[in-house]
Amino acid sequence: MGVGFAAESGRHTGMSRLRVEDAALLSGSGQFIDDLAKPARLAHAAILRSSEPHALIRSIDVAKARALPGVHAVVTGEDVRSLSSPLVVGVKLPMECWPIAVDRVRYVGEPVAIVVAADRYVAEDGLDLIEIDYEPLPAVVTPHAALDRVNPPLHEAIGTNLVNERRFSYGDPETAFAAAAHRITVSVAYPRNAVTPIETYGVIAQYDPHAGTYDVTANFQGPFSIHAVLSRALKVPGNRLRLRTPPDSGGSFGVKQGVFPYIVLVSLAARIAGQPVKWIEDRLEHLTASVSATNRLVTLEAAVEADGLITALSWDQVEDVGAYLRAPEPATLYRMHGNMTGAYAIPNVAIRNRVVVTNKTPTGLNRGFGGPQVYFALERLTAKIAAELSLDPVAVIRRNLIPSDAFPYRTATGGLYDSGDYAGALDIALRNGRYQELLARRDAMRAQGRLYGIGHAAVVEPSVSNMGYVSTVMTPAERAKAGPKNGAQATATVALDPVGSVSVHVASVPQGQGHRTVLGQVVADVLGIRPEDVQVVTELDTARDAWSIASGNYASRFAPAVAGTAKLAAERIRDKLAAIAAGQINVRPDEVIFEGGRALARHNPDNAIPFARLAAMSHWAPATVGGGEVQALRETVYWTPPQLAAPDSEDHVNSSLCHGFIFDFCGVEIDRETGRIVVDRYVTMHDCGTILHPAMVDGQVRGGFANAIGAALYEEYAYDSDGAFLAGTFADYLVPTVAEVPAPEILHFETASPFTPLGAKGVGEGNCMSTPAALANAVSDALGVGIERLPMTPAMIRAICGGAEPARPVSAEAPANSPEPVIAGRGLTGSGAAEFAVSQQELWNTLLDPDTLAGIIPGCHSVTRVADTHFRADVTLGVGPVKGRYTVDVELSNLVEPASAILSGTARGALGSGSGRGHVWLEATGAGTRLSYEYEARVGGKVAAVGGRLLDGAARMVIGQFFKALGRQARKASGQAGNAGWLARLFGGTR
């Protein structure tokens, strides 16, 4: 395997060398975006974000913010509209995708205004002073709701929330299904999540008004096709948008592709402010509004023979991309298009793909990108086939695997699998992973009455994306009109300086993958020098460096494409050096070899010239060398694989160049009492082609596995049914810690890719695809109930294995007269009742008299009458230390004096917004008046996102305080005194 190959040939590639990146990172001298030296006059931006999932913006008042000392500029959607164009949308649609809300907000967290100030603190002070008047609209939150035409469209010009639909048929799925012995279906839902890098987004932008150029540094990761989207949005030619990346980036996992709308915003803010502007996203912003994987509903049906052979698949996918179809979406849906049969030889495939928009954060790149969604369905299906047909799940997988002699293998949908021996890898995994032991362990555990299950997943991991795959979303006719898109340009430059030392530059943007280490190994091997003698620069500058649209660090393209291209560039310079050396040592160029820091004659090692001297020669003695094409100074190679053609007229597409293979199996135990899932053993077998650096490959596997543990068991960007975002902190969005991530057993199998210069394939994303499915299969096996959604929370598991709940004892009934509302479900609804020792009319007068409302609304500073039945109050609301000032509008309707009324209200403040509607009834009793009420409320914005736990408590407390004050006021109005004990008993002593 990898290590052996390298050791045998005595080279560096394939060895787990120490990373050249590490010493600086370990010493605190990394250069991340927020560490860079500051340009003169740098100002700082903060972004005001929508508290509403869906609303019209009636007005934005920025006057107070502009007047705040230290604030340099305030930017709104109007400014952005006047200076830029919308971001290009990948599908022809009447959808304007602006990086900031213009006249309407469509998701919680959508930028609404930008404050540029002397520092971030003052900028946030400015945000507090901006007043926005929203007119809320009903929110469309789920893909089901988006498909329901009853619900309002997010983009009125489109008229529907189903923004794209395509059907595909490959082979003859109808006949295969008609002839099938069994038809087996799974319906699953993949959740919203993301691998949330620990470093957030950052952008530093400057604008030169004389030259009309933007100079931007951002921790963007590519693809640099987005550069074209950016320059178009900023209305400048590409050469007037200089985009650079910092030397270090604190993780990306695809997510930092999503920084690009902010490149537009911060660029414009710098232009408007007339000075350089920096924006560093904070964690609340990141979790709420950076980017998410798509949530997807999948119904997948298989035509199956009695022995488990799958003859056809029928996919029905509903892809939820959030509020906008933001570039490069709907790429998540089409990235896997050539791989819809996974690791299996299935000749007939039907696909129905629908893309819907909802009032949630727009989606984008995320580790696995489309793979987790596909394999959660496909591998749940193979497990279900085994369960329903009483077959061994491994036998079902084996029965369907692409035969080992079939490579390169063309899939039904057009993918061209480069290499593999899936059955061979599977056998070794079962043997070396001690699968029989695991089976015995399950038997033993079950014999003890424990809930134990085994799951498997076989996955093909695509890498090096075809830049044309997204165009599969268009019909062949539309594609023909738009012109071809294809390939995967990679670039690398190898340069020699006047003292003969070697530099390498690539157009990739590392986020921790050790590019510099691996490129040093690869280039050193070609040139016969030491890796430490090669200097690698990986930060990118579009004004200076060689790059193309596929540049960037995504789609696991580093090892197969970028490192391979560096090898080609090194070979080109080596060949030139060989020609020069030939003249120096008097041999033919093909007799020159490079070894040990020398160029030498193959058959006479003593006939040599030091590498440095040879490499310097074209600088010092070009005439001797021969000048022109012969000299060896700097070579840039652009490489694109010929296998990545545009989609054909029948929608076949080879969506990726390389296809690794993964086979995972695992054992999980479920704690019946708590619903907790414990991963007992996890074995993951990878064939990622030739391994360039074994430790880094294992690092990629471990990292992807940990991310997948999060996706399978912990992480979800949760939204309330009304569109409020609920996972705004790291205490709500649960990233696994060391205690939650077991160590997987990693196995390797190497079949070199014939399509890449080094034989390598991508490896970083596979476990994000395989692991959630394998774990769900294991949990399904343990429970005997099929898992259909993620994450598998204790509540979900306990609902399956908990059985019937012991009944509520009569003694535990809630007290009937509690003034505190009963909160049921996730939304805020409640009801209650209270008795007052005043007459019905007195209580009515008190309740509906605006002059007394000021005295009884908790925390009320003032009440003004807007109309007869419309009051506006300025109130401070809070729980414990959490206090915020709100403008509360209350409107009264359905007044039936003195018996009932409806109160509807909204509250807005810096911490978020709320709205509610309550029905109040007054009923005369012997002692006085009984007031009963029901209400429903929703809360949005920051409080919902960061303090979900606070909400219902706050509602109860505020309502409790309100009625307490109401009682006091009513008594005062009726001229009664005393009776405090009764009131105190009613309101004060309930807990």
Partner: protein, 169 residues
Amino acid sequence: MPRLRRDETTSVRFTLNGEAVSRRADPRMLLSDFLRHECGATGTHVGCEHGVCGACTIRIDGTMARACLTLAVQVEGAEIETVEGLAPEPGRLSVLQDAFRRHHALQCGFCTAGILMSLDTLFSDEPEADEVRIRDVLGGHLCRCTGYEPIVRAALDAVSRLRSGKTNV
């Protein structure tokens, strides 16, 4: 009883990695921002600003602390140690840093500074720290790249070398 007004800055004097430092801060400035942007010690990273991710973990008067959960004005007179102070001298690495490099216990390196500060503090407080203790302390850090296992191994390697008296490299 000094009272610092909201809009005024004051001089905060402390030692940073053994050197006396004085920089100005207003009351609300977070120590994380103060170290990074006023003192230029950018090795301490900011990942969440609410105390969960652990990237900003430093040492204040010998105990581990989240810089983002500390005000700059609180550290008047304190001894602050950050990742920049871990190496015995420029160009060398401590036993712990070297173990991280050998075990590939970092990838992007963004969360690393905080983890190093926690482990360095643990090992000086508890030279006999075992894997349970190491895992408990690591539980206060989020890492998205490594899956944690190499970090645990690096920590175990480092603590055993430190116990056997190995010196910095």
